[in-house]
């Protein structure tokens, strides 16, 4: 990568952001994998899970006292509805199949193109001429985060 000109503060700023990102990510790796961090992270996770379970139990008791449906009751209803929906989808698909109709509504025979295609004869292509990466280097590059 070319160095940004010292006379261009905007390019310097962008370069700085990239370098800080890379530096922090690389420096954080060993810390994030240390025993101390892993132990602390999992303790926090356990506490969070236990807290969630406790809150849920307390809310369930309150709702039962008030003779109101709990989250579990609503989810159980949702499960029943989903099961009915699945059955309906299955029945609809079976009926479509028997009628020779695609699920989208168009007739099977009229939309299926012939399965006769052959691959084109190999020709030198600019896109294909671009070499594959020879071998991986140290992990870096784009994050799973959005970065077009």
């Amino acid at each position: 990568m070319s160095q940004p000109s010292l006379l261009d503060p905007f390019a310097l700023w962008r370069d700085l952001v990239s370098k800080v990102e890379k530096g922090v990510n690389e420096a954080a790796g060993p810390s994030l994998g240390s025993d101390e961090f892993v132990a602390a992270m999992n303790q926090a996770l356990s506490a969070s899970v236990a807290g969630t379970a406790l809150k849920r139990e307390m809310m369930n008791r309150y709702l039962r006292t008030m003779n109101l449906p709990t989250r579990s009751d609503v989810e159980a209803l949702g499960d029943r509805l989903h099961a009915i929906e699945d059955r309906l989808i299955g029945m609809s698909a079976t009926l479509d199949r028997l009628a020779g109709v695609r699920p989208g509504g168009s007739e099977l025979a009229t939309v299926a193109p012939p399965r006769t295609k052959r691959p084109p004869a190999p020709t030198p292509d600019a896109a294909l001429a671009a070499p594959a990466a020879p071998a991986p280097r140290a992990p870096r590059g784009k994050s799973r985060r959005a970065r077009p």
Binding site: P113, P119, A130, A132, A135, P136, S143, R144
Partner: protein
């Protein structure tokens, strides 16, 4: 010296223009809805709970004989392979003459927390393959899996060596879980009580999965936002950012038992790599896979590092097998401008020969 001053003046003028446009576009960004993704016409042809099988409508007058079944990762939505016209792998494949199906996953319901690898590889994928055979009228099926979808496809192919998979292509598929460095450390059995987590939550919440992905590169989230602000004047950048950001945040919960099983058997015991994985009482022997294989890896993949994915080709029993390492990261391997010129044409060449 005069030239330098002129260049600096022009640069400042451009930056001022960008600043003005950034403010206007910034308001538009906040006020406008996210982009619509995954719009290539398709029909839902099979659905059972979390599993959904789609058939894309053909865009070519003539298609290859062998249908193509894409298997998506369990934690993410399939529209990463079908962003918008011109940036859709699915659209590209359809225009190249493939008959494309996709197994996409809905969020698992509460009563699906018991799902395990057995359910995916001995029930869901076989059911979808049967439906693809029925719709296409063809016995053979080509299978393409992405990330965890690649793992499911590979295990399925190993458990069904007699077919009907004709060719197998997988992208960034983890095999050696010791090499998933940070994930492996975070799930260290000395500290991580997976039983307690799954017993309490049922399905593993997407927020936890998102946090784990995000922590792999802790500075990248902030840097991405800074770069977005810097490029707010650029419509193309903003459009691309929003597409990928929407997908990256659209994480699915994982079925609790699946998470427990993969944590214990893959992450802790590394059974797939040690050739000791047993699914539904059947040994998963990757050496039993004899069909042609293409494994595509990303050079800068920080989610599934090269070392974690590399053993696949060596362990597969096929004579016709190929490893392809391309520049890019875990996501930019399959989607975005780089994928259009790197992966897609190569995949087309490999699949074209394999689809007649």
């Amino acid at each position: 010296m005069t030239t330098d001053l002129t260049a600096i003046a022009e640069r400042i003028q451009a930056e001022v223009e960008h600043a003005v446009r950034r403010n206007i576009k910034g308001l538009e960004y906040l006020a406008s809805p996210g982009p619509s993704l995954g719009l290539t016409p398709r029909d839902l042809i099979l659905q059972r709970g979390t599993m959904a099988l789609y058939h894309y409508r053909p865009l070519a007058d003539e298609v290859y004989r062998v249908p193509l079944l894409l298997v998506m990762a369990l934690t993410n939505r399939g529209y990463i392979l079908d962003l918008v016209p011109g940036q859709s792998l699915v659209e590209f494949l359809l225009r190249q003459g493939y008959d494309v199906f996709m197994i996409d996953w809905n969020p698992p319901r509460r009563d699906e927390k018991h799902l395990r690898l057995e359910d995916y590889t001995l029930d869901f994928i076989p059911s979808c393959v049967s439906r693809v055979q029925e719709i296409s009228g063809e016995e053979d099926v080509n299978l393409v899996g992405y990330c965890m979808g690649g793992l499911l496809s590979t295990v399925y192919a190993a458990l069904h060596p007699g077919g009907p998979v004709r060719n197998l292509a997988v992208f960034t598929t983890p095999i050696d879980y010791r090499e998933m460095k940070l994930f492996s450390r975070w799930s260290d059995k000395r500290y991580f009580d997976v039983d307690r987590l799954v017993d309490t939550t049922g399905n593993v919440p997407p927020s936890m999965i998102f946090s784990a992905f995000d922590m792999l590169r802790p500075a990248s989230g902030v840097a991405a936002k800074v770069q977005l602000w810097d490029n707010l004047w650029n419509d193309e950048y903003v459009k691309s950012y929003r597409m990928v950001d929407r997908w990256a945040c659209d994480i699915l919960p994982l079925p609790g038992e699946f998470f427990r099983q993969t944590t214990k058997e893959l992450m802790w015991e590394n059974r797939l790599y040690k050739n000791e994985l047993v699914i539904g009482g059947r040994h998963v022997d990757l050496g039993a896979i004899k069909v042609p294989l293409l494994h595509v890896l990303a050079e800068h993949d920080h989610i599934v590092p090269y070392a974690a994915a590399k053993p696949l080709v060596a362990m597969i029993g096929s004579k016709d097998k190929e490893e392809m390492v391309l520049k890019g990261g875990h996501v930019s391997l399959v989607a975005g401008a780089n994928a259009v010129k790197r992966l897609w044409p190569r995949l087309d060449v490999w699949l074209g020969k394999a689809s007649v």
